[in-house]
Symmetry: C2
Subunit: 240 residues, 2 copies
């Protein structure tokens, strides 16, 4: 008797013999899932205790595994911080890539990115995204973090410039405006841990509403116009 | 012979004998100046090396004094972080107090506070203002920091509510709007150290411009209206 036996499919064809070892793609997938769980546990512990006050033991304890198990997936605490950063910004980078394919005015593409940005910062990785600092990382990781931050900053500036060019964004300083928008969103990580009365998506939506129309009173909820013509005519009210 | 002698004023009246010891108010003033210099030096070192990587030796070295001299003015590194925080927020608190006396629409009073806020965050204390964290401070200091942050947050929300009430701010969620505005300003501390191409005042002004009018195109540079009447009439363009 053996556990290994040939299985026969419903169609009657003889299949390959089943192995007690999982297929290599399954093992890879399993390893990825466990690595993701380690990174997520690290993010949650960093959120709870701060980076400097969190040990690999804390992270192992949250996962109910030993510290060597954690070391099987990452080489150091700083790598965990780095991976948490990457997990958070990946959502924004993917939004930046996706909106490039959309045939929409610049402002709407920008808003789509800002919504994903807000949700990423409100996620468990938000704190690491905005707190992964030069001093806490190896020089190589630090350079990588800087490059990713700069890439996102440049994408937002580009969307602002495109919005100005297509008339969907009022002429402004793209650099300062990008800093103001990203700053407001990044800051969510500082207060969201203590005040989760709204979901990440709701916060992102509320922020986009503020960014879109500003504080000034509007005649009819919102005013649309073609800035390059500088006409004084106002367009019909937009719902918001 | 003695160095102590009575001096006679030009008017011929006999003055009090001069003392080689400075008057107590002068000593107090001197001590305050030196304490301020210690706090400022700490802020500059924290900016340069990060809080955790800065030692009291670094701060003493910057001032060209010994570590015991630094300890004469503050009891610990955490107290220095706390004092840097207080030095920064004091500027915002004082702006909040001052605008209460002004007979101006809510939005203009809010803008005045936001300008001071931006300048404070772009100052040498900005990094400590936004980075003074629970974990780095004693429980008492941490409670104090929290109370001051909450006071400023509440002042900004109040100004937004007042602006909505007097028609100078479009109806919005005061809490989310206050978070967005303060977040954008707080974030200045994260990028200003590396990019000082504009002054703190210029950045604050650029941010207020974004907050005021938002991204949407405007018919004529800006649109003013009384939101409660919801008329579709636009007011004359405002200079900006």
């Amino acid at each position: 008797m053996t556990n290994r036996r040939s299985s026969t499919s419903a169609a009657g064809k003889t299949a390959v013999p089943a192995s007690p070892w999982r297929a290599s793609h399954e093992r890879r997938r399993d390893r990825e899932l466990k690595r993701d769980a380690v990174i997520r546990a690290a993010a949650l512990e960093f959120n709870r205790k701060g980076y400097h006050n969190t040990s690999l033991d804390d992270i192992a304890a949250r996962l109910e595994v030993t510290k060597p198990t954690v070391y099987y997936y990452v080489t150091s605490k700083e790598q965990l911080l780095f991976e948490c950063f990457v997990a958070g910004v990946e959502r924004i980078r993917s939004a930046c890539r996706e909106v490039r394919r959309l045939e929409l005015p610049g402002r709407e593409r920008l808003n789509a990115v800002l919504r994903q940005y807000g949700e990423a910062v409100a996620s468990e990785f938000g704190w690491c995204m905005v707190r992964a600092e030069q001093d806490d990382l190896s020089p190589a990781m630090s350079r990588h973090v800087k490059a990713l931050k700069s890439e996102i900053d440049q994408s937002i500036r580009r969307l602002i410039r495109e919005g100005i060019a297509d008339g969907s964004i009022h002429p402004c300083d793209p650099k300062m405006t990008a800093f103001a928008l990203a700053g407001a969103l990044n800051w969510i990580a500082h207060w969201y841990r203590e005040d989760q009365s709204m979901s990440g998506a709701q916060i992102a939506e509320a922020f986009v509403a503020v960014f879109e129309a500003g504080l000034r009173p509007r005649a009819d909820g919102a005013v649309e116009a073609t800035p390059r013509r500088r006409s004084r005519r106002t367009a019909p009210a937009l719902a918001r």
